[in-house]
């Protein structure tokens, strides 16, 4: 139907307007294409190319092949950093993947007061990431002036180390990220749920299907596409975590919260080893590229 219409419009147009349409069409696209090239494509290509060179500052001096990769991979910190990064992703999936979905399911049941609840849950999402990090830095402050230690000491407990604790620091950073990120995800789930036809539930009720059966047989299948998208977005997003550990711990204590992203940053802007930074960036990129491809494959299966 639509294709037919397009065909007819095209036939109605003379040859001249057809060319004109193309030229002006591409002119309108031009700013986006230029930026797409310079901001997204060129950095990837140039980064891959320059990672094969020895760089002095930001100028390539000598072709060294995979030397940068060898240095980065054999660095004693690499395995630790990779493991930390995987830990960030794993913990963020545990702490942050299901809660927004479950909360959205619950808010979807409310008849009153959902306006306030949505406001309260989304408000942290409006706080800029750097302010979130710094606010939680003080919530986790290891002496009695931090909010959590204040609460603990008020109940007679002794102050905890929080982000100074090498075993749990990643968990605490992830909690601060989840606090601000959850509201937006929740709102998106909620919107997807509200698009589901009410009659499905009423029919299920008449058929005697229980509440959980309705959730698993009607609600969730209708939002699988969104769930998959958020799952992959979260993995890809958290795998690149950098600003939060940079602001909250600087990667410490003793490298316990160092992520691949932060290490890439440190190679370039702290240690001045641009070539190593580029190589580590490419390694991270390749790991994530696999994720992106998997997502597009799975998305095709679900959404056709």
């Amino acid at each position: 139907m639509k294709a037919n219409q397009e065909l007819r419009t095209e036939r109605r147009m003379s040859h001249g307007t057809f060319i004109k349409k193309n030229i002006s069409g591409w002119l309108f696209l031009l700013p986006a294409i230029i930026l797409l090239y310079f901001v997204i494509l060129r950095p990837i290509i140039q980064g891959a190319y320059l990672s094969l060179f020895d760089l002095k500052g930001y100028t390539p001096t000598k072709f060294v092949g995979f030397e940068n990769y060898k240095i980065v991979l054999s660095n004693t910190d690499f395995i630790k950093t990779l493991r930390n990064t995987v830990e960030y992703v794993g913990i963020s999936l545990i702490v942050g993947y299901l809660p927004p979905l479950i909360i959205a399911l619950m808010i979807n049941e409310m008849t009153k007061g959902s306006g306030f609840v949505k406001f309260a849950l989304y408000a942290p999402g409006m706080v800029p990431a750097i302010v979130v990090s710094m606010l939680w830095y003080y919530i986790y402050y290891p002496d009695a002036s931090g909010l959590l230690n204040m609460a603990i000491t008020a109940f007679g407990g002794s102050p905890q180390q929080w982000i100074q604790d090498p075993h749990l620091v990643i968990l605490y950073i992830v909690i601060s990220m989840t606090w601000s990120g959850m509201g937006g995800t929740m709102l998106m789930y909620l919107a997807a749920m509200q698009g589901i036809n009410r009659e499905l539930y009423e029919a299920a009720q008449i058929d005697g299907a229980g509440v959980f059966k309705r959730i698993f047989k009607i609600t969730l299948p209708e939002i699988y596409g969104v769930m998959l998208l958020f799952f992959c977005q979260q993995i890809i997003g958290v795998f690149q975590v950098m600003e939060q550990p940079l602001a909250m711990t600087g990667g410490g204590p003793d490298g316990a919260s160092l992520s691949l992203g932060l290490q890439t940053y440190r190679y370039a802007f702290v240690y001045g080893k641009t070539g190593n930074s580029l190589a580590l960036g490419i390694i991270t990129f390749l790991i994530l590229l696999v994720m992106t491809v998997v997502y597009h494959k799975m998305d095709k299966k679900i959404n056709g």
């Binding site: 193309n22 049941e109 849950l121 003080y138 919107a191």
Partner: protein, 296 residues
Amino acid sequence: MLKVKKKENGVICASELNTWNSKRVAFILINIIVIIIALVMLIPIIWMCLSAFKDTQEFLQKPATIFPKHIEFGKIARVWKNTQMSSAILNTVIMTGGCIISNLVVSCLAGFSLSKLKPAGWKIISKIIFIMLLIPMSMSTVPLFMFFIDLPIIHISLKNTFVPMWIMSGINVFNILMVKSFFDGIPESYVEAAQIDGASNMKIFTRIMLPLSLPLLATLAIFAFTVNWGQFFWPMLVIDKQELMPVGLKIYLLKKDLPIDEYMMALLLAVLPIMIVFILLQKNIMKGVAIGGVKG
């Protein structure tokens, strides 16, 4: 006590809540739990506001106080002055304003072309844009930085300007797709009628498409505002002049210099503009977020 007459959403149907049964109990519990969660989520923000007004001694005293003993409004002015907040806010306004403009202009032009002009090859471009949605960007930092400090061919450095942030904000593939799908909803006949009247594409774009999509433009602008207001990472890389720093960067650098209570006040001042916008426009903002869920 509890009467649910109308229930238009959710898994549980209204008719199931008329008698005391497990579903009614669950319904009440859900309401209580959600409200508790909502209140807990607000604690950090409330704590920030209260702490900002305590003085340093009160902050460290035991047992800790919840509410500040006396609220001294002079402190706002003092911290504002000490941290040179006015220039930081002004810088942020300029930086964010440029980001919003570049974002809207590029997204709308591209969305218009992909939706209505459809030049040969538009499908490939759409496909590329769609793939870019999930492309990881973390590795681009260094090459992009090299690009900004030494633009190819013309060899100009964009250090200590806001241009790098404006350029990066200009390309937002999600927004292009959003504009395209919004423009898709505007009937083809409007465009054709204008074309028959001899209107140029630019005229169609500015006189027909843009006026019809003001709500969308507002949503995109608000989002660009909230995303860019607190930027600190790129400003940290490209700006090293004190007088050019935006609030996000200021907040990051002030951490070491201020006592905790004054720092809380600085945080509060930095988020205040964004919180005011949120409180005033919360309905539109949350509707805008929800679009992501429907499109996804």
